[in-house]
Symmetry: C2
Subunit: 366 residues, 2 copies
């Protein structure tokens, strides 16, 4: 039995319910910019050593909450755990991004793909349960996965890419193979997120980190359609509470209207999007999450605070909407991308403080 | 005295005048995907050896025109020649992108910047004159430069970047320094493009390759404002003909309306933008250039042709508009980014053929 939630601001904002301040959390908030994270990672030996050990994963998930009054925790894990469980062999070389030992590049490789035995991801669900216990109701815990398309990018390329040549070649030359990968991924991601919810995740987020590299038309068919399938397959209520679902497409600004119709409660936005214009476009269909450029955190704390206020001002004051009987437009403050490892930790403190205080001021204005 | 132009389809489309087919050229069309280019580059010894030698630059500029019935030539050069002339020391290491020996990172470095003596760029203007002569009126020649912001990215970072941390840190922490760099760059780029026009360039293009990495708000202040200054300072008529100006912001989709108001005749679009929706938004204010995903060229020729037709269909049939006394909406077919070095040359032939034949079919439809 988990402790009752003391701060549910984040969950309420996701559902466009009234809040006293704008909740804030940061993508990759448990990360290398924190010396205490680096210390734990050094003990763990490797990134996957950290992610697969329940105690370490719990420890690093809670580290940013000890420093900052953040309104949500996010499971410490990686977006690529699912293809790793499919047997592709995920590793992180020092100073480089993720790499798969056996990328999927031909008919035989695609045919061999299957939804993995969820028991291979037991370490993730155990971490969720452990983190929930350690959080003791302080803030909600967000679970997550990569989107079917984003997983496919890494599965085909075998690593990050500048041009996505291999995965796009398959997409255009052999769309049948690409659809088969995406179908397996969508079923796997849905099962994976539902198991995280069973283990205690109070919201889930789908990271479509590479949706924005697709052409208009291809994005809808090869990314958004499969994200929509994942969202439709999610359990959305647990213990009498709705489990909000966030969909974040980096570079997805051109398709905001379509993404807002995918069934998610919240749409994540990167910093290229004007938040006020986005709010006007989506109306009361979804809440919005974002969208400070993480590079702003390299500026002095006074500039960080000013730019954070500008993001809040751009979104505008939460207010009752005509429809939905008293729902408020929801805004969850976040960065438009993961926080950089070079970020000075005290600048993050200035950011969180500015979001909390300025959003309270906006609510108090007549 | 240059020969009269035999094929002015490209120039007419830029000015939204009637054309018999949709003109097509490809960003980086003189490049490493062509074996004959690689042979010339090997003789030249290095990229800058190629770009600074008038005979080599002329030779490689014309190579793609020998293979394909393209509707425009583009000067063979680099977007970074201007900061090189400022003394920053441009080089291209084998297999890597551009690099500056002395990046601009502090107050002293910024203070030392000045509009370069255009004589240091004489090799570019000589190449323009030589290429015009070699073209003998076959198709128009496009001159170009990087945008003030894109030049600043490389000048501060010293090379390409994943996160633009250094240049964005300067932008947010020391906007005064950034504005000074951009002011010098804008004046230099305008003078540089005007000299290209004097030497014979029949259209000019500003590549804002990195505008799309900026946050909404910052893009307008640090990129578009300076591009606008460049456009305003250009000579727009030469020998009784209008010199069209193209502005291309990679990732600029979110700001299409604002870019379309910058004074350019043509706005270049990347593949994330829906061409039909973009046309509806800009109306008859500007022509549009783009926007096939260059990765489509890795698919079989039949798929390349199908996707090229889809781009033309998305834009729709050119037609007379109500205003401007008989102007047509202009479309120049292009990729949404430079062609990849791994592109099979015969796929490019299929692309050009499909654009010409399908656009003629669209015009002939009742």
């Amino acid at each position: 039995m988990n402790a009752p939630l003391k701060n549910d601001t984040f969950l309420r904002a996701c559902l466009r319910q009234p809040t006293e301040h704008t909740p804030v959390w940061l993508m990759r908030q448990a990360g290398r910019y924190l010396p205490e994270y680096c210390a734990t990672r050094a003990r763990a030996g490797s990134f996957m050593g950290l992610a697969t050990n329940v105690d370490y994963a719990t420890e690093v998930t809670l580290q940013p909450l000890e420093r900052y009054p953040l309104d949500a925790a996010i499971l410490f894990s990686d977006i690529l755990t699912v293809p790793d469980a499919m047997g592709l062999g995920l590793s992180f070389a020092q100073g480089e991004g993720p790499r798969f030992a056996t990328p999927v590049r031909d008919e035989a490789g695609v045919a061999a793909l299957a939804v993995p035995d969820l028991d291979k991801l037991r370490y993730v669900f155990d971490a969720v349960t452990s983190i929930r216990k350690a959080l003791d109701g302080r803030v909600p815990l967000i679970g997550f996965s990569g989107s079917p398309w984003t997983l496919a990018c890494y599965m085909v390329e075998g690593a990050g890419s500048d041009d996505y040549r291999l995965v796009k070649t398959m997409l255009y030359a052999r769309p049948d193979l690409m659809h088969r990968i995406l179908d397996v991924n969508a079923r796997a991601v849905a099962a994976y997120l539902n198991a995280q919810i069973d283990a205690g995740a109070q919201a889930v987020m789908v990271f479509d980190s590479w949706g924005g590299v697709l052409a208009d038309g291809a994005f809808q068919r090869f990314s958004l359609d499969y994200t929509r399938r994942v969202v439709a397959a999610l359990q959305r209520e647990k213990d009498g509470r709705r489990i909000p679902c966030i969909v974040f497409t980096k570079g997805g600004g051109p398709w905001l209207d379509e993404i807002a119709a995918c069934g998610a409660d919240v749409v994540g936005l990167d910093w290229t999007v004007n938040l006020g214009a986005a709010r006007a476009r989506v109306g009361d269909r979804v809440a919005l999450q974002g969208n400070l450029d993480p590079n702003i955190l390299f500026a002095p704390p006074a500039v960080v605070a000013r730019e954070a206020r500008a993001v809040l001002d751009s979104f505008g004051r939460p207010q009752r909407t005509a429809s939905e009987g008293g729902a408020w437009d929801g805004h969850i403050f976040n960065l438009g991308h993961g926080i950089s490892q070079f970020t000075p930790p005290d600048h993050v403190a200035a950011l969180v403080e500015a979001v909390h205080s300025h959003s309270r001021t906006l609510r108090a204005a007549p």
